[in-house]
Symmetry: D2
Subunit: 345 residues, 4 copies
Amino acid sequence: MINVAVVGASGYTGVELVRILANHPHVKLSCLTSRQHAGKHFSEVFPSIAGCCDLVCDPVDVDLIAEKSDFVFTALPHKTAMEVVPRFLAAGKKVVDLSADYRLRDAEVYQQWYQEHTSPQLLADAVYGLPELFHAGIKCASLVANPGCYPTGSSLALIPLLEQGLIDPETIIIDSKSGTSGAGRAAKEGSLFCEVNEGFKAYGVASHRHTPEIEQTLSAVHGGAVTVSFTPHLLPVNRGILSTCYAKLENPVSAKELLQQYAGRYADAPFVRIMPEGALPNVAFVKGSNYCDIGIVCDERTGRVIVVSAIDNLVKGASGQAVQNMNLMLGLDETAGLMIPPVFP
Amino acid sequence: MINVAVVGASGYTGVELVRILANHPHVKLSCLTSRQHAGKHFSEVFPSIAGCCDLVCDPVDVDLIAEKSDFVFTALPHKTAMEVVPRFLAAGKKVVDLSADYRLRDAEVYQQWYQEHTSPQLLADAVYGLPELFHAGIKCASLVANPGCYPTGSSLALIPLLEQGLIDPETIIIDSKSGTSGAGRAAKEGSLFCEVNEGFKAYGVASHRHTPEIEQTLSAVHGGAVTVSFTPHLLPVNRGILSTCYAKLENPVSAKELLQQYAGRYADAPFVRIMPEGALPNVAFVKGSNYCDIGIVCDERTGRVIVVSAIDNLVKGASGQAVQNMNLMLGLDETAGLMIPPVFP
Amino acid sequence: MINVAVVGASGYTGVELVRILANHPHVKLSCLTSRQHAGKHFSEVFPSIAGCCDLVCDPVDVDLIAEKSDFVFTALPHKTAMEVVPRFLAAGKKVVDLSADYRLRDAEVYQQWYQEHTSPQLLADAVYGLPELFHAGIKCASLVANPGCYPTGSSLALIPLLEQGLIDPETIIIDSKSGTSGAGRAAKEGSLFCEVNEGFKAYGVASHRHTPEIEQTLSAVHGGAVTVSFTPHLLPVNRGILSTCYAKLENPVSAKELLQQYAGRYADAPFVRIMPEGALPNVAFVKGSNYCDIGIVCDERTGRVIVVSAIDNLVKGASGQAVQNMNLMLGLDETAGLMIPPVFP
Amino acid sequence: MINVAVVGASGYTGVELVRILANHPHVKLSCLTSRQHAGKHFSEVFPSIAGCCDLVCDPVDVDLIAEKSDFVFTALPHKTAMEVVPRFLAAGKKVVDLSADYRLRDAEVYQQWYQEHTSPQLLADAVYGLPELFHAGIKCASLVANPGCYPTGSSLALIPLLEQGLIDPETIIIDSKSGTSGAGRAAKEGSLFCEVNEGFKAYGVASHRHTPEIEQTLSAVHGGAVTVSFTPHLLPVNRGILSTCYAKLENPVSAKELLQQYAGRYADAPFVRIMPEGALPNVAFVKGSNYCDIGIVCDERTGRVIVVSAIDNLVKGASGQAVQNMNLMLGLDETAGLMIPPVFP
């Protein structure tokens, strides 16, 4: 059993890591940290976890964490993450960082959308943790930058089209809708039940920080700069991201043909499920699981393809993918601990 | 007081008409019909309405309805509507039809997306009831075809751009999300609480029947054929449609300038609210009201404009707009009975 | 038109007062205050209200408010309310206070459940604003203590039984479930969407501050001390309180007989609706309205009566009842501005 | 691996059995039946299950099922269940029946609350599948009657009190609130999203069919007839039952003492979690899991104890408990396949 730490365990991605790792056959949770709840039983912070994990929250003490564990998940806000990640690496630990701090390969782009980067020297070695694209790199990495939730869903939807040169990259529009757990557990007026329930809105239009991350991935796949319109929306559900992606087809093609290409492209990807022709994803069908469901419609009238993907933002969009990356980094079966069927209804 | 009938009162648009008309200063509900509930008190079917309306449901008997009322709302499914609307007109009644049967001016287009039309001769005289576009025509009409919910929200979002020639009409994408009351009160598995709650999906992609209706309006405004990509989604809320509309700008322009143009365009439209710069609509802020809220973002990076509109699908998207049309047809104040502030939260 | 101020307008009961008063035929909103948002347009704080009210938020300056208005609603947290209410009274204004500060007639009881009372001398003159019980007193009052949301629903359910001596007062159990707007708009972790949605819990069991308020009313009606078990629960809806009330019947009686007695008791209460035999209330059927719906079941097997009441906690449970009280205090029609049909669905 | 059939797999308890059994270490799903969907892939009926189970739905053919499987779960409506259960038993299969047909030991009581019983001779041998009470019996049983959802939660809450004679059995009131999946997947108007969402109501007051089942269990524990008031309510969540149980204490006792007694009573029950003093259950904290959480408050003012329990109605209230029973009947570890942490949020 490998000893594993979750640093920043008291957020929603933290408790989700605990939920998944508590049942993982090859690892043992050895350390959970929480600044706010240090000294409390984790199950007092999250009663859902009672009986599954009896750890007491530690403070964020890098030496202590490094002593207790062989592998570290950092589930901290961006900026806070890069204050500790270099120290875990220096202590010889492998790290999956769930923040945005090591996702953008170009420190200048990071600084433009976030703030100054304090460990830009690590960017070259950090591997972007989208296993469906960077499988080999992740296996050798010491530091994996776990992708953002929106970039995961939309990249998986668009990669096959760009790899095959089937669409005009200048026409990509990504209209995404995310469940509210994506906003985290911080007490903000905008995240209150009565503000979100029975509501629906767009936010961060043409300015959301996941935009450069999506563009970095799609540009790498396309082999040239790709600029996209990306619009996130806030959905009154706990979990789930649905991304509706539009692009002009270079040549007419049927949904059936595209679905076959997608099935081939993702044949070795255990968590991508291609829907049958005529069926479309629903976030309800991936809830609690590491799956990414993809459905496709081709519109002859407009010459556009519409690709729709659904993930659970806390699993494939965060903690599940993080465990998938850990599995690869440790040479374990990629699916270990992750074959959790979705909870429906 | 004008005597008013609601034919097909037992659906959600029916009870919404009753809610609005019960408080209307110039009309009196004189007849409610329901095949299924004939003989029952309407307040037994909808206990919400107890104390506000004590009518008993009549069967759908055209002669009886015509005798009891001066003005008729038909809130029936398409096809059923065109079986009775001609008879009300023949009896000298003015009619607002909430079905799709008289919305498309071209019977062939109707037949392509719906079924055979049994009273195509009425299409020339029917006026499309979008008061912000056809104010004058509605005032003189005997038959108003009340717009669909999606077409209302998306047309109001795009009309000013097309009128001013500011966008490339070939690049229009409308990504809409509707509350579940849009699916009606019929008992279908797909509308069950557990199927919808905590879920989100696209449906009718590239094939929804509101597409030709949207295109008819936008083509009329543009002065030439406009083809759009329209994708509806099912939102786990009772009420509300948010439409996120994308198009390429012909020339760079700022959101501030566009907002001013929109404010001017809709200066005489009492139910269109243009959001301040930087603010975006939320369906929660129009719930229960006849407002359509519009917000705008211009994206310099992509050269696209993103216009977001929000309506309550049962009010501005159906029954409220129907009453607005009735007000115009009867020479009443356009806002009579409709100045109902949204219910938030 | 009477000039009316809402002090503490930026909470949910505040915006609800604005929603109702914006359409009131006899009053004019003249002043809205908000410590946090002073200087901002109220419609910026609550975009739902745009077009209905164009006031700018004032700071909480008693002299300014008194100058601008003839009648004052204080929608402040308890303790804060009693800091300003005496000053409005001294300035000759009539006041409806929506806090708990003047509800309990006995300052000692108040101190036991809340904190020290700083204006106990006003308690003798304050009238408890339950119009169905204290109609005459409210009409003459200068200060009305608007009842709590739970006490309103449960008192209306139980008053007729106690007035007629039909139940054993020692056996009363009130199991109440409230929508989340009852928790207010403060940013607290426990009120976050993801904490409340898909959840349900009891809280404040055997210790909630509305307990002495309920007991004060029921004791007054009974003519002797009544002690009850009261359990509030948090419901994942925006609005609504359902109270399921249990008591042992002194003698066997049928639901039909009780329903008749209730109908008689509330014959002059325009906002109490007694359900037909066999029907039971649903918070969905009172949403947005000032109604209190009541249904009754008699259980021969156990000798108990079960009375269920439903209100909208923000309307009959707060702001609607406050306006009802204002109407009485000003000699207006009790229902002025309040005949708003419920919004369903 | 033991071959297992789920008869009636297309309901919510059916798909929940599939979700749990797909990951069970010692059994293999060998047969799923659905009258309505025979011939379709199960993953077409429930896309959530794609990749976890690739069975095609069989018709309900007893011989075929018996041939394919060693153990049978019948997840059929009552009455339909007793048409097939005797035949599976005759074919030598062990059966867990999730319907109500074999829960009541007295055929007359069954007939009074349901309809005529067609295999009353089996009632003597059927074991009521509440493992926390009938552990030994279940281990030897061929037919286990899986408890109803409400009876599971409320019985676990009250058993320790009655076993110890701590409460007056004539004063028991059970106020329960269930998520909507309890109403099943049948397309009924009352289960539509817009009818349930933002609503809350009591139903079946003093007449719900789970009442005699609860009384049968509590009477057995008490050693004499127990009659209870039981009120179910419909909660706008997918999953979860919270039961708030009231009773008069025979003698004063503290919550701390009771919590210790409960901890002792359930020391060998792996799925009962006793909350720490001062904490109370929330259905959100058991979602997707087989846990039953219990919290206790003692009210000195009224001499009552309030016990609150939470379960997931589809897991501990149905399919999870069914698998727990299967484990016992097959001599497997009671928790096999069931140590699934709750999904929160």
